[in-house]
């Protein structure tokens, strides 16, 4: 029976873990079971875990930067971004110039029931309009409410953390989050 010592050791490991979870206290207090302290899990609705700084929680939209170029919508693997816009005349940049045409954003929706959090839209946006934020508490009782319109997406902008510094010696400038 060469397996026997290993089998017994296995039983010991599970028993020891159970003991440590149930009786985590030291000294005479060992006899008081306190699994709340011993367990390594975070009891989510009661206590919250701070997500990592660059966690992919939800995508925020900075509406002023968006030109309705549709790049994000076209690159989305799930087709979960809906964009509509119209063209308006804007005053010329220089005195005496021709009036410009500018894209105005009418609708920018992300359907989080479809989104798979790949982040391609954030990568592909050339105008710094989309950002990751680590917020994750936006589940809804109704699935239709998971479609966030541009106002809701704009609200997430407040929670976007600043970009981290690059490693020392990098010549790239750290991107700024438009506030």
């Amino acid at each position: 029976m060469p397996q026997l010592p290993g089998l017994i050791k296995g039983l010991g490991v599970t028993a020891k873990t159970a003991g440590r979870t149930l009786f985590p206290k030291r000294g005479w207090k060992t006899l008081i079971p306190a699994p709340q302290k011993g367990a390594v899990t975070v009891q989510y609705p009661h206590e919250k875990e701070a997500p990592p700084e660059r966690a992919r929680g939800v995508i925020a939209l900075h509406e002023e930067n968006c030109t309705a170029c549709m790049l994000c919508s076209r690159s989305c693997p799930d087709w979960c971004i809906y964009i509509e816009g119209h063209k308006v005349k804007a005053p010329p940049r220089r005195e005496g110039g021709k009036p410009r045409t500018v894209n105005m954003l009418d609708r920018f929706d992300i359907d989080y029931a479809l989104c798979m959090y790949c982040g391609i839209c954030v990568e592909v946006c050339p105008f710094d309009a989309l950002f990751w934020t680590p917020e994750y508490e936006y589940s809804e009782p109704r699935i239709a409410d998971l479609l966030h319109d541009k106002d809701r997406l704009g609200e997430w902008m407040d929670t976007v953390p600043d970009f981290l510094d690059y490693e020392p010696g990098s010549e790239q400038k750290v991107r700024k989050v438009p506030r």
């Binding site: 039983l11 599970t14 159970a18 440590r20 979870t21 699994p35 709340q36 011993g38």
Partner: protein
């Protein structure tokens, strides 16, 4: 045996039936809460269900209500009658097991002279139910699970029965009450203070019995029939709602019954040292003692379940036929020799 109350047969039967109907779901409730929910959670360094009722005690009630709300689905190709009967057959085998389990001198549904034989025979009916479920589901995974269950349960029925033979030879009776009595009146080298629990003389048989029971209950090192990673649940893959609940209840009800059998045959059953074997007070204290012993045995069953990974099908068969059955036979021969010599 003294009779506590003299009741007409039908009243006595009614009381026993009501008790059995109340006890069997409760037993699976206790086992699932204590071991499947809490002990398993602690062994994995988490808390387990914690919000439903105090310390999550009502979680299982909530789960049962959830199962009752589910739609009862039959696969289109399923053999409907057999499909519906299968969980009932499995649960019936569990109920029949409880008939002979003694909890006191008179606290037993029916004191059969062939109690051990009856328990072994009835416990193997569940194989039939599992095979029925696997066959009638019209699902390849369910069929594979059912066949694996049949192969495994037949292979492990043998060492189970052979291990019990040692106890039967030593106690000279097939009656479970007789076995308790034999342990209570037994002596260890002339010292009769704690009787002679057969775990001391039949330790090999006890080990074989526990291993075979583990396989018979399809608990984890031997859970090929339900192997959720390869068979996605095995024989109960197509079952929903109440029928799944029946399978679930049968699994843990049978675990409780096997733990009770082990404590009757090896740990001395309901007898408490210092009392007469047919003392009436044991009808009251006996169930408590039995419960303690059953929980101890069940603790070992589930401890092993949560510790080891699943065996492979061929390893399982090899272990039964090449190790357990020869060992059980050796145990019978040794017990016989000792019985004749002393």
């Amino acid at each position: 045996m003294t009779t506590l109350l003299a009741l007409p047969y039908w009243q006595e039967t009614g009381i026993k039936l009501g008790l059995a109907l109340a006890i069997i779901p409760t037993t699976s409730l206790i086992l699932v809460y204590l071991f499947l929910f809490k002990m398993m959670a602690f062994m994995q360094s988490r808390l387990g269900p914690n919000d439903t009722g105090p310390y999550g005690t009502l979680q299982l009630i909530a789960e049962a209500i959830k199962f009752l709300q589910k739609e009862d689905i039959h696969p289109a190709q399923a053999d409907r009658r057999v499909f519906r009967m299968a969980p009932v057959v499995v649960l019936a085998s569990t109920f029949l097991l409880y008939v002979v389990l003694p909890a006191g001198p008179d606290a037993v549904v029916q004191n059969l002279d062939t109690g051990v034989f009856y328990a072994m025979a009835v416990s193997s009916i569940s194989v039939l139910g599992i095979l029925m479920a696997g066959w009638s589901s019209a699902n390849k995974y369910a069929l594979l699970g059912g066949l694996r269950a049949a192969g495994q349960l037949i292979a492990y029925e043998l060492p189970l029965i052979l291990a019990v033979m040692g106890v039967v030879i030593q106690a000279e009776t097939l009656n479970l009450q007789g076995i308790v009595e034999a342990q209570a009146t037994g002596e260890i080298f002339g010292f009769g203070g704690i009787g002679n629990p057969f775990i001391l003389t039949q330790f090999l048989a006890f080990l074989i019995f526990m291993i075979a029971a583990q396989a018979e209950l399809t608990q984890t090192p031997f859970d090929m029939p339900v192997a959720e990673t390869e068979l996605v649940g095995g024989f109960h893959i197509e079952y929903t709602g109440f029928r799944f609940l029946l399978f679930f209840m049968a699994e843990f009800g049978t675990a409780f019954a096997f733990a009770a059998l082990a404590s009757v045959m090896f740990l001395g059953g309901w007898w408490i040292p210092g009392f007469d074997v047919d003392d009436n007070i044991l009808n009251v204290l006996g169930p408590g003692v039995m419960l303690g012993k059953i929980l101890l045995i069940a603790f070992f069953i589930f401890w092993v379940r949560f510790t080891y990974p699943r065996l492979r099908e061929d390893q399982l068969q090899k272990f039964a036929w090449k190790v357990l059955i020869p060992l059980a036979l050796v145990n019978i021969v040794l017990t016989g020799i000792f019985k004749v010599v002393f």
